[in-house]
Symmetry: C2
Subunit: 305 residues, 2 copies
Amino acid sequence: MKIVALAGGVGGAKLAHGLAQILKPEELTVIVNTGDDFEHLGLYISPDLDTVCYTLAGLANPETGWGRVDETWNAIAQIERLGGPSWFRLGDRDLATHLERTRLLKEGYTLTEITRAFCKAWGVRHAVVPMSDSPVRTIVETDEGDLAFQEYFVHRHCEPRVKGFRFEGLGSARPATGAREAILSAEAIVICPSNPWVSVDPILAVIPIDEIQGRRVVAVSPIIGGRAVKGPAAKMFAELGIAPSALTVAEHYENVVNGIVVDSVDSELAKQIRIPTLVTNTIMKNIQDKTELAEKILKFIGTLS
Amino acid sequence: MKIVALAGGVGGAKLAHGLAQILKPEELTVIVNTGDDFEHLGLYISPDLDTVCYTLAGLANPETGWGRVDETWNAIAQIERLGGPSWFRLGDRDLATHLERTRLLKEGYTLTEITRAFCKAWGVRHAVVPMSDSPVRTIVETDEGDLAFQEYFVHRHCEPRVKGFRFEGLGSARPATGAREAILSAEAIVICPSNPWVSVDPILAVIPIDEIQGRRVVAVSPIIGGRAVKGPAAKMFAELGIAPSALTVAEHYENVVNGIVVDSVDSELAKQIRIPTLVTNTIMKNIQDKTELAEKILKFIGTLS
């Protein structure tokens, strides 16, 4: 069974981790959002790619979901002492990833090649690929003007009111070879419980939609009981005038998915969803939760025509 | 009394530290070699500037003389895990210096301005200035070809046999404004016990020699009992066919200095030196040693006409 998972950061990484417990390396490809990538301190930083890779490698900080376990913060503390930008909290071990990635990009390697090499070094056996090797940059349109994603997300703590989104670079961006090949040979696509607006939509914008449509595509709602488990997804729905719920997530993906997974707390709401719906626990606190959810999703896919 | 110290790395930093114990901030300027500077991992690294600043700030590792005290090595360990270049041992706290310096250089600040800002942040009250804000690169000509200085020094552990040196960029390099002003207003110049070939000669090559000549200039021999306290100075003398000794150090500087300081173990040899010579303990193991040597040098300068 060949499965493609579309993932953003923490939520996506968790479900990808669950899927990796069940599927063989050749059965799973995780396509990761790179719309959040940015340059900072002269370093090329890919937050979602790193979160997914660290999680699959067992190197992620289990408390935050992002960054490295057993991390130290000596470099950033000294940058702060020097009056440099310290709002983006780069750990010492994490810094190595950005330094080496930046060096290899300058040498002409693609993000796909670099991610593959890093995964090998970290012992990640399943394929993790960026959505594109070309730059696509998520811009958050707010009542305080356009903000680059990390500026909005980390520096401004998601405070400005969202008016819309756009993905710069889409015109010239192609899906990464590995991403497209994985989609074309996939028996099913799982949209992980990542932010629909800024984690999944960039991927869906880069991959030709007709290559996704027609396959079995299942999305896991990141909105549970009207709230996001993590991050600004619910706030974004609300500011765009849409009540955040599993129902509106299903509507958001209606042109793409033919199955949706919602949390048990939304079982009443689920009755209003018109496509096949799996109602189950979707909160992933540990590896058992991740694996059980992955198992149920794979079974659910098997029931879809 | 206005004193200029010309310094390379560890030995130079030690004497500068001693001088800073006695002289007021406005009385001392340390002009530092930048011929060893290089780009590595996309970072602009100034090893001698950092060693001098860290030492004056009390932030240097007392065991090695270079790098930071209480340092951690998590980033470089992870770069090594990723297969990246790890021969230049960058500590986590030290990395902050290079990241922030590189960022500020890209923003258009000069090395002089950046060094001043860093010194302020680190609490260094005496002036530390690079010899030049333009790139000057020490090339070590060896029997295995030309090697950039850090390639020779760190990566190749000074193993290739030295045939000569050259300083690339000299043609277009001007002394940094602060360096030249300090020389022009100096009552005396102290050449610290740094490597004559690769730490002091680049500075003497950048500063117009007629601005140095005619002043009271004293050099401290880095060669003690025929050996260098640290680094390849003695090996370089020998490979160039010159017996390494306080005597040959005096000859090396004969066009520039009018006084020389040699270690007590070389008291017999000192009798052969034709210029005024101070024979004293020049080994600096602690702050007392540094301060005592600095005091004696300042008195010695007072005896020179």
